[in-house]
Symmetry: C2
Subunit: 243 residues, 2 copies
DNA sequence: TTCTATTGTAACATTTTGTTACAATAATAA
DNA sequence: TTATTATTGTAACAAAATGTTACAATAGAA
């Protein structure tokens, strides 16, 4: 689970559902790499997934949307639950204690933030070019990190990222159009689309077959040509159209 | 969410995680039909999915296993999370109040069982011939109901069943072997396996192609013939072998 | 012995996927 | 202007997977 401003929440967690949190793996795609948003906590060097809590009169999914909007500035985000992390062993209070101390707080032993949390994992897909990452009240930075070069993460957040990635791979074929529309800019080349596919699957695909398959889906509209400045034929630029 | 003996739990829910529950859609396969386990509450005519709560020092998935063992007598069950139901609107305290009254309890207005719950949905797959359904402390019966002829269910339990079914359909191809091994008896005919497949997908498949595909998976071992008494060729009986 | 329903599998057609090949072309260099 | 280069779009063919039809093999009943 993760964290918001304690003064916004109150010292006893009043107004929020107790023991329940959510963590989000927010994916973006840039320079042919999958990246995720991470928070770095003040004075601690600890990295964590963006997370949040659920208000007493708020739907669970609405809480996730609210938190995502706070972290990215985007209100219309593709997001989905993928797993609930509910092992009791996952909650080690020590990192949270450090973070609170680093923020000038002196947590009591049974401070609500230090108790056990069950956390609902969400993954979100955002257009890298549109998101404006914003740190939360306890963190210095909120930034993109290449999935292949993540820093060490708090608690079980590494496992959460891994599970999110597995979920992406399993569902890619079924969800491709929705996902690509969320992760890519409005227009893109076939090579960019293929690169996204390859990055998620972590394997190379045959160019010819990929193009044939994508075009046969009937969801791509060819717009015009893109002159990249490279010494070669200019690729077409596509956009998704409602199927 | 669902319910256990209130005296086993205590009137204030002490010893259990607050606000968090789990509901299970327990599937069995019998006479070419998918069935699920439902509880019928004493003196109320209300039907509900088996559910439970999480002990303070218990892993979430362990709580699900404990509850499934209590309801079916089986300890080694295939089960998986599929969704968290966290809308605030889902929790209507009225049915629960009826159930408590029908059990001779006089619930206070803010009794913990009447407050909002977020519930983790699990589906489980069991061998119909091995499960021994047992009611919980508040219910009269725990029994199998044909998926096509379910009684009216409490709260949003109908939607939970629907979502579980969708999850089955989406994942059938990927999980077939695990699932069939859980749902079917140790040995079965090709027709039975096909019937299971058809029932989950809710569509007819071609017999020839189905047989070819199943055999090509290399996970079926042909045991011997089954003389059913029917006036026709006797089918082979198969069993799954580790791939 | 004939008949019926069902099974196991072969045979063929169709579709999808994998692979190779090649012409088209945008910039660059000669 | 004319090669040269890297990349693109698509055709062409091969291989594999899937859809469909057909038929011989039976276990029992008539």
């Amino acid at each position: 689970m993760s964290h918001q401003s304690p003064d916004a929440i109150g010292p006893d967690g009043a107004g929020y559902l107790p023991g329940l949190a959510l963590d989000a793996v927010i994916f973006g795609f840039h320079e042919n790499q999958l990246r995720i948003l991470l928070l770095e906590y003040r004075n601690t060097g600890l990295f964590a997934l963006p997370g949040g809590f659920i208000r007493e009169h708020e739907d669970l999914n609405a809480a996730a949307r609210r938190m995502l909007a706070e972290r990215t500035g985007l209100s219309d985000i593709y997001l989905e639950q993928f797993y609930v992390f509910g092992d009791q062993a996952r909650y080690d209070p020590e990192p949270m204690r450090s973070i609170m101390r680093a923020n000038g707080l002196t947590p009591t032993d049974n401070h609500w933030l230090l108790r056990r949390f069950v956390s609902v994992g969400y993954y979100a897909l955002v257009d890298f070019t549109k998101a404006v990452p914003r740190p939360d009240a306890l963190s210095d930075s909120c930034d993109w990190y290449d999935l292949n070069r993540l820093p060490a993460l708090m608690q079980d957040h590494q496992a959460i990222v891994q599970k999110a990635l597995e979920t992406l791979r399993i569902n890619l074929d079924r969800k491709l159009v929705e996902w690509a529309a969320s992760l890519l800019p409005d227009t893109f080349t076939m090579a960019e689309l293929q690169s996204l596919y390859e990055t998620i699957l972590n394997e190379k695909l045959h160019r010819s077959g990929f193009q044939r398959k994508m075009l046969s889906l009937g969801v791509l509209e060819r717009i015009d040509k893109k002159y990249t400045g490279g010494a070669h034929k200019a690729p077409y630029v596509y956009r998704f159209v409602a199927g």
